[in-house]
Structure formats: structure tokens, C-alpha cells
């Protein structure tokens, strides 16, 4: 007997097929068998698990194209297993993990290890992003060909920029031979100095060293110029300022092959979240101002920004319960991305369809991986979202190994309630 699963009478949102309609979805043998639009009154034939999806959204499995899984090297913060378990509980069926592990993912061995761990865990597809430069130290190119053969889907020195412009140019050029996407962590380091938060009146008041917005914008401009010059695509990671959005908007109007992502914290929070030196609100790029948050939301609305990624960055208490200056950058995000994005839907900033584009369709397209649609015969990667469910996000409920979130104790609305990977349920909160 075939193994089948019916998600019955939900709201199917499948932008790739132009569908936003009541309907049901039948999965069989790990594949999408068929989509039934309208009211599905029949009983499925044979042995079939039926899940009542009424009041819920049936969407292609969500993809987070920017996470840190910390393995190898910092398994006390997160592992491939714990990180992908957190991903599944946040509604994700795939994540792309950044190479700033220890050792850096600049070689076949590390890429292979991550893929093997992911396969063994079985919670989500893992797409390794490998390093642009060896050890991500910005001096020599990593072996792009070997990394691609091992299974890396894109390249980035994320965690730090490629400071040397000539090396970035060469990386963009050399990526042509492998049609490899480069992801830019845009940060002009001499301007950042040893800053720890957005530069402005608040950093002055708190006596904390500032990171000027121009540090991000100048580097985005450089990378856009380099990519245009050598006619290659480029993806800009975690943008946080108004001018960054404008730069990308203008580059797209010019016809440049640029894509960009932002994170839930940049469209939800401002630097005010730092409050009384709250290290859970410390990240890089730093939280910006109300005006920047507004611009990020506009960019999500008008299509300038292509993807919502979390930059999920687990850190243990040891890295966060210290002086603000000394605290590590980054927050976890996999389990709060869906509710925070749904807040944009409730605020009429984006439509449900746009949300699915930002969190599934576009990340797959940018990374050049399968997924992002409910095509018949496609891998049965599906997320069921309850847009109305309200809950309080509490530390005891956090699935990730680390608990560094500024959203703890927040009352949130909307949540992934069922995550299905290759037809198998990886998370079930029904």
C-alpha cells in the first residue's frame, strides 16, 4: 500500500502555481500527488492519514536561506541536529547554513560532514554555503569547484566581509565557471571599528561605540558595482538600512542581477530594543532606527527585498550574559520567523502570497535548489500554518539549543503547526 497523507480543506497558497484558494493536498510516497481546489468531500481511497487543515494555510515548505548551525566546532551552541529540529518546529523544511564554523567550511570534508549530519537528523534539508576565501580570512580563494562537487549551494564569508575588493572581484569572476552564487556580508570594517550598536543619539546616550549605517551601505555599493562590472549575480545578506534598500532598488531598476534578504528582527525591532544594555538585542548588522524599519518593510512590500531569512545565530548564556561590549553578536530566529512575518500580513504590509514568496519560493530560486512549489511530483515538503494561533514565546519552549532571543516573553500570533519533509512529519503541533 502506498503511504499517503491528506491535508484536507485548508487554504492552499502556492504562488509558483498562482494558487491562493481553499483546497486539499494529497501526498503519497514522499511526493506531492495532487492538489484539489475547492471543497474536498470525498474520502481518499486506500490507507490514508487525513489531517483536518481547516482554518490553516497549506504552503510549500519554508526555506531559511541564512542560518548558523555551529557544527562543527561550537556544538555547545547548536548542532546540525538541534538546529534543524528548531527549523522544523518553526515550519522550515530547508535551511542554508553559513560557513563560519570551526573549522571554516572551506573544504569538501566540512561540507560532507554537514550533509551527513543533516541526513542522519532528518529534520530538514540542509544546503551548505561554503566560504569564498580559504579560512574566510580574505586572502586566497577557496576551491569553488571542489566545494560545489561536495554539495555547497552558494559561497559567502558570512560573519565577515571580503574586505579586499580585488579578491571579491576575482571571486565573482571565478564563480562564473561554476555558476556559483556569491552572498555578500556587507560591512566596511574600518568604519565599523569596534562598534557594538547602531551609531546615533542612542549609542551616545548609552555610551556604546557606534556602527555607522554607511559601513553597510558602502560595502553593498561596492559589491553591487563589482557584480555589475563583471556581469555576475550577487545576493546581499541581512540588509538593515533605508539606503541599503534604496541601493538594491536602484540596482534592480538598472537590470543588475541582484537579490537581497532581510531578517525578522530588522522589520520588527529598532535599536530601542537594546533598552538597558540588553545583549539579546545585539547583532551585526545592528538594529537600526524606526525609519530604517519602515524602509525594510517597504522593500518587502514592493519586491526590492526577495527573501526573509533569520540569520539564526545561536549563542550560549556564556556569550550573552556579559557586558554589552563583550557579548556575541546574533540571535536565534528559526522559531519566531513565521509569527513575526505574519504580523506583516496582519498589518497589510504583505499579502499571504508574498509571505510564501519571501519564505519559500524566492529562497529556492535564489539558491537554485528545488522546492518552493506544490507541483505535482515534487518532493512533499509542506508547511501547515495556523495564522490565528496565539502563544507566548517562552524560554522553556525554545527548541534550539541556545535561547538568545529578544522575543522571549512576547505574545505572538500565528505559527507553523505541522511540518512535512519528503512526506514525513518532522514537526506536529496539531
Amino acid at each position: 500500500m502506498p503511504q499517503s497523507l491528506l491535508l484536507k480543506n485548508g487554504r492552499i497558497i502556492d504562488p509558483a502555481n498562482n494558487i491562493d484558494s481553499p483546497g486539499s493536498l494529497l501526498l503519497e510516497n514522499g511526493k506531492i500527488k495532487s492538489v484539489y481546489l475547492g471543497d474536498y468531500a470525498n474520502s481518499p481511497q486506500g490507507e490514508c492519514q487525513v489531517i483536518d487543515a481547516s482554518g490553516k494555510w497549506i504552503v510549500p515548505g519554508l526555506v531559511d536561506m541564512h542560518v548558523h548551525l555551529r557544527e562543527p566546532g561550537e556544538e555547545y551552541k547548536e548542532t546540525v541536529e538541534s538546529g534543524t529540529r528548531a527549523a522544523a518546529s518553526g515550519g522550515f523544511t530547508a535551511v542554508a547554513c553559513m560557513p563560519n564554523t570551526s573549522p571554516v567550511n572551506d573544504n569538501e570534508a566540512v561540507t560532507t560532514l554537514i550533509l551527513a549530519k543533516a541526513k542522519k537528523a532528518g529534520f530538514a534539508k540542509v544546503y551548505p554555503v561554503a566560504a569564498i576565501s580559504q579560512h574566510s580570512d580574505g586572502s586566497r580563494l577557496a576551491e569553488f569547484g571542489e566545494l560545489q562537487k561536495a554539495g555547497a549551494v552558494a559561497l559567502s564569508d558570512d560573519g565577515r566581509p571580503v574586505e579586499n575588493s580585488q579578491l571579491m572581484r576575482r571571486a565573482l569572476e571565478y564563480s562564473t565557471n561554476f555558476d556559483f552564487l556569491l552572498i555578500s556580508h556587507a560591512e566596511e570594517m574600518t568604519l565599523c571599528g569596534d562598534g557594538v550598536m547602531n551609531e546615533g543619539p542612542l549609542s551616545t546616550r548609552l555610551g556604546l561605540r557606534g556602527i555607522p549605517r554607511i559601513a553597510e551601505e558602502i560595502m553593498i555599493y561596492r559589491d553591487l558595482a563589482l557584480a555589475e562590472y563583471v556581469n555576475r549575480p550577487i545576493h546581499i545578506a541581512h540588509i538593515s538600512t533605508r539606503e541599503s534598500v534604496d541601493l538594491i532598488r536602484r540596482a534592480k531598476l538598472k537590470g543588475c542581477q541582484v537579490t537581497a534578504e532581510t531578517t525578522p528582527h530588522y522589520f520588527t525591532l529598532t535599536e530601542e530594543a537594546i533598552g538597558d544594555y540588553n545583549t539579546a538585542a545585539k547583532m551585526n548588522p545592528p538594529l537600526r532606527t524606526l525609519d530604517d524599519r519602515q524602509a525594510i518593510q517597504e522593500g518587502l512590500e514592493d519586491g526590492t527585498i526577495d527573501a526573509i531569512a533569520t540569520d539564526h545565530a545561536p549563542h550560549s548564556r556564556a556569550e550573552k550574559e556579559v557586558e554589552f561590549d563583550l557579548a556575541a553578536n546574533g540571535i536565534i530566529g528559526l522559531e519566531t520567523s513565521v509569527p513575526l512575518a505574519l504580523a506583516l500580513v496582519r498589518d497589510k504590509i504583505i499579502s499571504p502570497t508574498r509571505l510564501v514568496e519571501l519564505m519559500s519560493v524566492n529562497p529556492c530560486r535564489i539558491l537554485g535548489v528545488k522546492g518552493g512549489s506544490l507541483d505535482q511530483g515534487a518532493s512533499a515538503d509542506v508547511t501547515l500554518i495556523d495564522p490565528d494561533l496565539t502563544f507566548t514565546y517562552e524560554e522553556k519552549d525554545v527548541v534550539s539549543k541556545s535561547k538568545n532571543s529578544p522575543f522571549l516573553t512576547w505574545s505572538l500570533q500565528g505559527k507553523a503547526v505541522l511540518t512535512i519533509l519528503n512526506g514525513k512529519i518532522t514537526f506536529d503541533a496539531l
Partner: protein, 312 residues
């Protein structure tokens, strides 16, 4: 009729948290404590049996000693921990240090630390009262209070005065506390210095930013020169101390622009001939040593107030 004000702060983390009434209370209280230091027997029993720990992670002579003298004159038991002798040198975190100190049941911990916000972190993890003796580039509340005390003593008022603060505003916690404090008490604070040393948004703390030193000191009742740290030359902030002294140092010419009875202040330690002409530092306008004397009285008032002596 005496206005009664209840001072109900457990910690002194910054002047930002104090109301004008709180500051007024401390200024009055310090003025009365000042007399104790002029007695032959310079000791009162107000804090007998209280334990005060001086936890200094940065070098300090004046402030540490001032707090210690203040505590001893109030009969508290004082203990000093400095970075070179503490476990922090051995990699202990600030929170662990705090928990260990707290286990010995001190009443007050006075902390100086190079990281902004450290006193607040300590306050969250101990039961003791915390006094910020300077944190990073954030605040130095006791210095701000003793500066206000000195101005009040010499001028009879703070409201309506023009206070010019000149120099490295960006790296000066003293400047931050003074801007906040003097502004709260109704003074007008003007700041000036090399634009590289004026932090973004300082006007939001209440200061008026002047493009020249002359503009800042013109008609000023008080000129406060800030220490220019020679290590700042490593960053591309100022070309040289020589150029700084020429264009931003407070000299006799600058003094002629101020009110005839203007006060010259400096929080110390001073680079003579850089931010301040030595003749001015030692001249009749200077109240630099009064600041130090008042420091002890103000810190006595602070210790007393947070130990519950705050009933006005």
C-alpha cells in the same frame, strides 16, 4: 518651609535616572556633609557596620580614594579590589565576580569599569546597592554631582548659567553626566571641540553643539576643560596634542570671552598645557581643587542617601 523630598534610589547608575528633586536633595545633603571634613575628628557614625567594596577595573586615584575617604568618614568598613589583583585577570566574568562578592554580603559596591552598562549588570545580579564610579563612555554620576555642587557653591545657583564643556566629549563619561545633570537643573550647556570628538546626537542629551570653542565659551559662567587622552592620537581623531592645544586648549584669550567671574573646571587628571593653560589651572578662576574637596562630601551624601538616609 523646608520641602521634604524622599530619596528612594537603591543604586546610583547615572544622572539620567535621577530627578531634579533627587539632585537638589543630594546637593543640599553634600553641602551639610562638607563640614565633617573640616573637623579635627573627621568621622561620624552614620554608616557604622556597613560594608563598602570599591571594585575598580580601571586605574583611578582620585575617585577611588575619594569614595574610600567618604566611606571611612562615615565609619563604614571599606575594601578595595582593583583589576590587577582580582579574579577578572584570571578570566572570571563580571557576573561571577559580582555573585562572589554578593556572597560576602556587602551593603554597597562602588564599581568603575571600562564597559558601559557594567554597573547595571552588577545591580541585576547582586542585592547590594551599586554606585557607578564611571562606566565606559556612559556616565560618571558622582563626578557630575560634585561638579554641580562646586558650581552651586561658587555661583549660588545652577539654573540659567551657561556651562561650556570643551574637548573630548565622545569619550568622556564626565561630559555625559555633566550635560545630563546641569541641563536637568536648568543650566544651558554648550559643548565644543574637534568634530571628531563630538559624538553623534549629543544634542539629544540636552547640549548645544558649538562649531567653535569661542562660541561655546562666550559669556560662559563655567568653562570645563576635558582631559584629552594621548592614546586618542592612535585613532585618526586629532593630528597632534600640539595642534589640539593651539586650537582647542583653554587659554587666557578664551577666558576673556567668558563672564569676568567665570569658573575654570577640570575633572582631572589634567594634561597641563594641552587642554588647559597651566596659568589658568592655578589661577584665581580655577576651582579644580574645590572639585576634589567637594568630591568627598558629595560621595558621603551619596552613600548616606542610598543607605536609607534619604528622608529629607
Amino acid at each position: 518651609m523646608e520641602v521634604v523630598h524622599k530619596f528612594c534610589h537603591k543604586h546610583i547608575l547615572g544622572l539620567e535616572q535621577l530627578s531634579p528633586d533627587d539632585i537638589d536633595f543630594l546637593l543640599r545633603s553634600a553641602a551639610s556633609f562638607k563640614e565633617i571634613s573640616t573637623r579635627q575628628i573627621k568621622k561620624v557614625p552614620a554608616l557604622r557596620g556597613r560594608t563598602v567594596i570599591n571594585l575598580f577595573f580601571e586605574p583611578s586615584t582620585r575617585t577611588r580614594l575619594s569614595f574610600e575617604v567618604a566611606a571611612k568618614r562615615m565609619s563604614a568598613d571599606t575594601f578595595n579590589i582593583s583589576a590587577s589583583t582580582s579574579s577578572l585577570k584570571k578570566g572570571e566574568t563580571l557576573i561571577d565576580t559580582a555573585l562572589n562578592l554578593a556572597a560576602m554580603k556587602p551593603d554597597i559596591i562602588i564599581i568603575r569599569h571600562s564597559h558601559s552598562g557594567s554597573p547595571g549588570l552588577l545591580a541585576k545580579h547582586t542585592k547590594a546597592s551599586i554606585i557607578n564610579a564611571g562606566d565606559g563612555t556612559h556616565e560618571h554620576p558622582s563626578q557630575g554631582l560634585l561638579d554641580m555642587m562646586t558650581v552651586l557653591e561658587k555661583k549660588g545657583r545652577i539654573g540659567g548659567l551657561k556651562i561650556a564643556i570643551i574637548g573630548d566629549i565622545a569619550h568622556s563619561r564626565v561630559a555625559h553626566s555633566n550635560i545630563i545633570g546641569f541641563t536637568k537643573m536648568g543650566a544651558n550647556v554648550s559643548v565644543s571641540g574637534p568634530a571628531t570628538l563630538l559624538p553623534m546626537g549629543i544634542e539629544h542629551l540636552g547640549a548645544t553643539v558649538c562649531s567653535s570653542v569661542d562660541e561655546a565659551v562666550e559669556g560662559a559662567d563655567v568653562i570645563m576643560a576635558l582631559r584629552i587622552q594621548s592614546e586618542r592620537q592612535k585613532d585618526p581623531l586629532i593630528p597632534s596634542l600640539r595642534e589640539y592645544a593651539t586650537f582647542f586648549g583653554i587659554n587666557k584669550r578664551a577666558l576673556t570671552l567668558a563672564k569676568p567671574d567665570a569658573l575654570i573646571m577640570h575633572p582631572g587628571p589634567m594634561n597641563r598645557g594641552v587642554e588647559l593653560d597651566p596659568d589658568l589651572a592655578d589661577g584665581p578662576h580655577s576651582v579644580i581643587l574645590d572639585q576634589v574637596t567637594n568630591g568627598v562630601a558629595m560621595r558621603m551624601a551619596l552613600l548616606y542617601a542610598i543607605m536609607g538616609g534619604g528622608e529629607g
